[in-house]
Symmetry: C2
Subunit: 279 residues, 2 copies
Amino acid sequence: MTRIEVAFQGARGAFSEQACRQLLAGHELDFHPLGRFVDVYEELLAGKVGYAVIPFENTLHGSVHENYDYLLQYKPAILAETRVRIVHNLIGKPEARFSEIERAISHPVALSQCMEFFRKNPRIRAESHYDTGGSVKTVMEGADETTAAIASAHAAKYYGAKILRKSIEDDRENYTRFFLLSRETPPDWPRPTGKLKTSLVFVTKNVSGALFRCMSAFALRDINLTKIESRPLKGRPFEYLFYVDILGSPDEENCSNALRHLGEMTEMLAVLGCYPPAE
Amino acid sequence: MTRIEVAFQGARGAFSEQACRQLLAGHELDFHPLGRFVDVYEELLAGKVGYAVIPFENTLHGSVHENYDYLLQYKPAILAETRVRIVHNLIGKPEARFSEIERAISHPVALSQCMEFFRKNPRIRAESHYDTGGSVKTVMEGADETTAAIASAHAAKYYGAKILRKSIEDDRENYTRFFLLSRETPPDWPRPTGKLKTSLVFVTKNVSGALFRCMSAFALRDINLTKIESRPLKGRPFEYLFYVDILGSPDEENCSNALRHLGEMTEMLAVLGCYPPAE
């Protein structure tokens, strides 16, 4: 067991902590729960932690553009990806009763994913809190038994709280994709085996022809894409940035040829990381 | 001036109402503010309103996948698009003072876009409300002058409330793209002129080769794309649904050829709508 320092956005018990456990299974973890995503990148870059775990995509909400922007700015290495199913629970003090709950606190996004629950239980007022995990802590520290939190089952267990209602999220197909990041790939990081996934970002001008040509770099070499997303560039009409994930690694000859070919056709090209696919 | 019934999600004064005014300028509007997106689609399909205005994309949060799903399910016509800049303001009763505000209520997503404001003003507690516009209504109806709302300047004006702090959103590059929907294109709807935009959705198998071939339908005919986004299909690994916007209309010969060509290569293809580009 190696002891590992890992930073994430949120309080203890957040879904990001669950992602940390999935991504760094078999290690003893020292968690650095931080307030904002930018704080997580800065701690990582300053060397205060060896690893960071960040959400990049959610099945309901799409990509977290903010975090893709930070990838480009801070240029960390992506070591691995994982998917966490987002299950929200209503969590109270051990002595709380569901029928007496009048207020539920949680992160705004978690509250917005449980709108049906609030509509069916109009006596329960939704109140914003800094974080899902942190809302359980606040409930446990407060004197009031009529306040509950909305968070993961892990957060309930971590703070010794009681689950009053399980799985109150509106949509069961709610998954978040997280990346494990480090400043650079650690020398002792186990070399991944099997088919790898590579995340890229590139900028083209003139989209129709240019994107088609860019994609030929992969298609002509039978390289599969698992994600493509365009994002208009701020203040540069008709220019786009593309996020693309491919199945393959720059260590493979056809993939490294594809990247060289792609480089000829793009204004900017960056390999964000290469890692084993989550499934 | 024609009187038009239009439905949107949220309460009066919501950003969607602002989008309604942009999309239906020059008409007198009867607003149907509804609780959920699905309610808006159902009122439209039941003929209770002639038009609906729905958000589909935000520069920070990406695409609203839920609403794309409803497009496929309810198959309304897209008549027009618009972009609304999301500016959040702290709004109180006319006699309220900023220094005395202790609580700010708004939609969870609006609260999450003003995190810096709450960090700098820790005395102000964030509390979730059904809606941005509705939160101003609640503030105006309540007896308490220490509670403020977070909403658009339009909502402040509509409810006769006072703006205590302008533009408290974290990111100025916060725009939402809305569509104007109707059951079918109304016979008296003015025929759009100039270059049009068409929104498509299609399903391919085997992504690398298939998507490349699909895109050849456009590239070989010099048709520009303005958006592409992949979305994994639930329960069908390695199959994807693509949302694509092109510059062109099925009324143009090269575009109709491209769509026929695309149809040969896809498992499913639907034209979601054809409308003048917002800019």
